[in-house]
Amino acid sequence: MNALATSVAPPMPVLDIPVLETPRMLLRAPTVDDFPAEVAFYASDRSRGVGGPYPIETVWRKMCERLGQWVLRGYGLWSMQMKDTGAYAGRVGIFHPHDWPGPELGWAVMADAEGKGLAFEAAQIVRRHVYQTHGWTRLISVIDPDNARSIALAERLGCTREPDWEQPTEGMVTIWLHPQPEGQA
């Protein structure tokens, strides 16, 4: 348990989120152990591209929302865990709330894990997995227009830009279409 939790939790249920493996990481179910790193991330300017900064209580609710999406949709976001150190490196997976323009492949990398190609490595494994598992032929990424690093990653993943989208709460965002299953890296 971490010191930030408000009360002693009972044994935590784990959803049937599959574990995926990349050369350097395990992609596994989010747990409360990821919470301190998420709090630090959302307290920093690094979170501007994904709706932050947020106060601690909102970070906790966002974690719940991501877990709840696994139940509501049957797919969601994984936590990226380094194989060598066990450290939490960020999250990657499918974000798909109500009224979203389809399943989105999203990612967020913690500050000390940046610049190592980890999101690229994880996103490729997730993309292959969701194409195989769900039979999707259309997969997008939704990226804040000022988030140059994420846009560069979308391009590296072979995405092509589609018309922008006016998201009701977050404003104008860019839409990136991923290559079809047979065309992916």
Partner: protein, 178 residues
């Protein structure tokens, strides 16, 4: 635990007129109607369907992080959803509470009181709580009456980082102790 096991893990509670069970996508529309209305003004609303869907996901995710959470409350006679009621303890809460949101059209029947009493019994019996509160936003007279009907008494005020000033109403303990 698998997703299907999680559904089984959420206990089903029964009262005279109501069933309390797991929340699912089936409950989105009644929640969207409630959260779009002025009645939601004391619980973070009004909000659009997008925000309501995320709230539904939040309610379900609370079960995953805490091992307990709020229930979808259904009217036995009609099968219709009447509320979201039960133990609730998100980060930033002063202590675990019993919360209730009554869907539109089900006011005035005593349903919130009936379901919250079952949820309170569940918290003491199954979750091992030794005390319980309910948070009532300033001005939410309907909710305050439910708390009082349940026997809760004003304990103190609490200021939440986003929701502002609220009354902490404290319920009688497991054995009926204050």
């Amino acid at each position: 635990m698998t997703l299907s096991e999680m559904a089984q893990t959420v206990p089903t509670l029964e009262t005279e007129r109501l069933t309390l069970g797991p929340l699912s996508q089936d409950h989105f529309q009644p929640m969207a109607d409630f959260y779009a209305s002025e009645r939601a003004q004391f619980v973070g609303g009004p909000m659009d369907p997008e925000q309501t869907w995320r709230t539904l996901a939040l309610e379900i995710g609370h079960w995953a992080l805490r091992g307990y959470g709020r229930f979808a409350v259904t009217e036995k006679a009609s099968g219709r959803m009447v509320g979201v009621i039960g133990p609730w303890n998100p980060h930033g809460w002063p202590e675990p509470e019993i919360g209730w949101d009554l869907m539109n059209g089900f006011e005035g029947k005593g349903y919130a009181t009936e379901a919250a009493r079952a949820a309170l019994d569940h918290a003491y019996r199954d979750l091992g709580w030794t005390t319980a509160i309910s948070l009532v936003a300033k001005g939410n007279e309907g909710s305050r009456r439910v708390a009082e009907r349940l026997g809760a008494r004003f304990d103190r005020e609490f200021t939440h980082v986003r929701f502002g000033l609220m009354d902490v109403m404290r319920h009688a303990g497991p054995g009926g102790s204050a």
